[in-house]
């Protein structure tokens, strides 16, 4: 079996996501590469949640929507997912809630009722059933539960054992999975962003909660003591951005994170960072918009928005990671870049990268680190008009005067309004943008994968879907993923001119395709769009790509 897919569906508050997590860990612990996608609604209890976990001996960068084993913990999930089966797939339903279901019935609820908090425990039933289906013994399951379900462990062990017993005759060893090599850890995109920035020297993280960026805050808050990080959740996003800018001006590597609506509130501060030349890394994790939109789903519709932020003219790099692993390194890299060029920088991502989880192989010591140009003594001028536009830094408290200024200013940071001074500082910032551009030309700004005459362009989370579709469909094509969207790596695009080109993105207007056309001068032959809040499904996308290539 190339890919094994497990799906678990049920109500929010019944441990569905936890079950997805545990299932992924279970498969990963056997040395498989795993991809986990959690689908949940904007509510706390009830409704319909599900997690899909796809695993393979090879690299895997997407879940599949046809499951080999689909376990539905309630009737609604059963109705929704009963047909989401791969060939030979097995549907398991909760026989307490679904009367005449097709597939294998398991009494998840009535078994759970023997213990306190039955609602919370049914998810574990799904995991135990998976364990049976992939041939784990009762002892192996026992060991796994001991590490994965520590809270209320005794009852958990008993419940899991009971389910194991009931499921074994029905499903025992139905799926023979190979055993892989050394197990890899798994990370959510947001965990990767948080830890990557920390590895890159983050000092302070300021954020106000907003899905799908909130978990960056949660992860960093939970590790703030061990990692020696300042983590603050203030009154609103305006405070977030301005506190972060203040902190950066005093030398702290600062980061903020939010989604579209909160990011809008930071826009004034982004322009402030542009003018004052404050290094600031902003994480923008998108969801379907406009406005409040669909908070817990995904979309790549904030590209133009990210590129157009902030009034006036100043350099601001924007980059988007293609998966969790890249997110780790990219957040450190952008932090370093922000400090190198004293600019705001945006890491653009979306729910699908932020809140999906995948196997990673990370060397944290390889994270980039900020090495800002520092003042080396003598009279200090905050905005020294250097050849490359980058002025040395000096942090207060200091004997020398250090003045950062949101007004147009002279080299010392004092406000001006005379024409020569205005033009001069515009020139300085433009030269800095030029220096940044030249620097980017020496950096990796584009990923390419595979080979073939045709080119598939994708960025951000959709890269994962495209790569998996190419694997699934065994497509002959080169996949090109611009990591940097600003400065847009036009110098890397030359070579793709004239090739048959397809652009793939989760957006209704094709903003990425427009960027490729307008900035990259690429003739896109076909644009494949999706905009229903869900990421591409690799098998479906493979079929679409086949038609387009």
């Amino acid at each position: 079996m190339d890919v094994f897919t497990f799906l678990v569906g049920g109500k929010a508050g019944e441990g569905v996501k936890k079950a997805g997590n545990a299932a992924a860990d279970l498969l990963a612990s056997r040395g498989l590469r795993v991809f986990q996608m959690d689908d949940y609604q904007s509510l706390i209890k009830g409704g319909h949640n599900f997690s899909v976990v796809s695993a393979s001996m090879r690299e895997i960068t997407s879940h599949y929507m046809r499951a080999n084993l689909a376990i539905n913990l309630d009737a609604r999930s059963y109705d929704i997912h009963r047909n989401h089966l791969a060939e030979g797939g097995i549907a398991v339903f909760n026989s307490d809630l679904v009367k005449e279901g097709e597939g294998v019935g398991m009494p998840f609820t009535s078994e759970a009722k023997r213990y306190p908090d039955p609602g919370l425990r049914v998810g574990l039933g799904a995991v135990a059933t998976l364990a049976v289906a992939v041939g784990m013994s009762a002892e192996e399951l026992n060991k796994f539960v001991s590490s994965a379900y520590k809270r209320g462990l005794e009852n958990n062990l008993a419940y899991a054992a009971a389910i194991h017993g009931k499921a074994s005759p029905l499903l025992g060893g139905k799926f023979k999975l190979e055993k892989g090599g050394k197990p890899l850890p798994m990370l959510y995109g947001n965990e990767a962003i948080a830890l990557g920035a920390a590895a890159g020297g983050l000092d302070i993280y300021i954020a106000y909660p907003m899905t799908p960026a909130s978990s960056i805050l949660h992860v960093l808050a939970s590790h703030s003591e061990t990692l020696r990080l300042a983590v603050v959740h203030p009154e609103n996003e305006i405070a977030v951005a301005n506190i972060a800018i203040g902190a950066a001006s005093a030398g702290a590597r600062a980061m903020v994170g939010t989604s579209g609506g909160g990011f809008a509130l930071m826009e004034e501060a982004l322009s402030l960072a542009g003018m004052t030349e404050t290094p600031l890394l902003c994480i923008l994790s998108s969801r379907p918009g406009p406005s409040t939109g669909v908070p817990t789903y995904t979309e790549q519709a904030d590209l133009k928005y990210a590129l157009g932020q902030g009034h006036g003219e100043f350099p601001m790099p924007v980059a988007s990671p293609g998966n969790s692993q890249e997110a780790f390194y990219l957040s450190a890299e952008l932090l370093a870049l922000a400090w190198r060029f004293q600019t705001p920088a945006i890491l653009l991502t979306d729910k699908h990268t932020s809140e999906s989880r995948m196997s990673v192989d990370i060397d944290a010591s390889k994270a980039a680190r900020p090495e800002p140009l520092m003042h080396s003594g003598g009279e200090y001028k905050r905005y020294l008009d250097t050849k490359d536009g980058v002025s040395p830094l000096l942090f207060y408290p200091s004997k020398e005067l250090v003045k950062w200024n949101s007004y147009e200013h002279d080299e010392k940071g004092i406000t001006i309004d005379a024409p020569e001074g205005i033009a001069r500082m515009h020139d300085k910032r433009r030269r800095k943008a030029q220096t940044l551009l030249e620097y980017m030309k020496s950096q990796r700004t584009v990923n390419t994968y595979g080979d073939g005459d045709s080119v598939i362009f994708a960025y951000g989370s959709t890269t994962m879907s495209v790569l998996e579709a190419v694997r699934h469909g065994k497509l002959k094509a080169k996949v090109v993923q611009p990591i940097y969207l600003e400065p847009f790596p036009v110098w890397e695009m030359e070579r793709y001119k004239g090739a048959r080109s397809v652009a793939v993105e989760v957006s209704s207007t094709g903003q990425f395709a427009t960027l490729l056309k307008e900035k990259g001068n690429i003739d896109i032959d076909k644009t494949i769009l999706k905009y229903d809040g869900r990421p591409f499904e690799p098998a479906e996308l493979a079929a679409q790509l086949k038609g387009a290539l």
């Binding site: 300042a230 203040g246 702290a252 501060a269 005067l401 949101s406």
Partner: protein, 280 residues
Amino acid sequence: MDDLTTYCENTWCPGCGNFGIFSAVKSAIKKLEARGVPRERLVMSAGIGCHGKIFDYLALSGFYSLHGRSMTTVQGIKLANPDAKVLTFAGDGDAYGEGLEHMLFAAKRNADITVIVHNNGVYGLTVGQYSPMSRKGFKGPSTPRGSIEEPLNPLAILLEAGATFVARGYSGKTEQFADIIARAVEHEGFSYIDVLQPCVSFNDTYKLYNGLVEAVAEPAKTREEAIRLAKRPDKIPIGVLWQERKEPFHGSLYGDWNPVAKRMPRAERVKIIEKIIRGD
């Protein structure tokens, strides 16, 4: 030009109350130096407005911020490096209009910052619109038939929000005001001073204030009394109305740790992160 004044041309209107504030601030800095707080430990920010120009004139390091956000900027500076003593200059439009929410939360969390609000009852720099402090009936270009709103009482509101140092100064009483500033900077926690500042161009209140201000000898004993004082209908009390000792925000957050001065060595960070990734 003294050594606390920069080379920048001063463009406040002749007679503006900001001159009194400027003198008082310089005098306070001297007082603080005499008491062992060197001026380089002081870091300032300013809002946007006539008041904000003090950023250009005063020879202190700092950050010229946005309209209404200067109190957040200094909170960031303080959080990055608690060794800094931070103070910010805001307008009444800044602090009680655009940025009022930040003021309340800085008070709530007892952020260790000093906020000096140049309260001239008007939006000076944008040519005289009513501010949250303007009296009912005030005629400005956005309220040509007179403002229809009552002014706020920001001292009372900030006291209710938990401010631990609340004072009022008057730009016409420079020495008393200088003393208040020095005490505010020394206070650990949210120090807030509202300064009565006549604006000779749009809201000339010299006469009014000269007749109404009355120095308070010492802070109130209870917060309630301080609120009553702040709301006195007959006189305008000037001086420190309230002061109490309470752990400041950065102290509660990380004791005497300092993010930029006591950074964790990279190798150690990396090791911990690898452990976290592995899930041990």
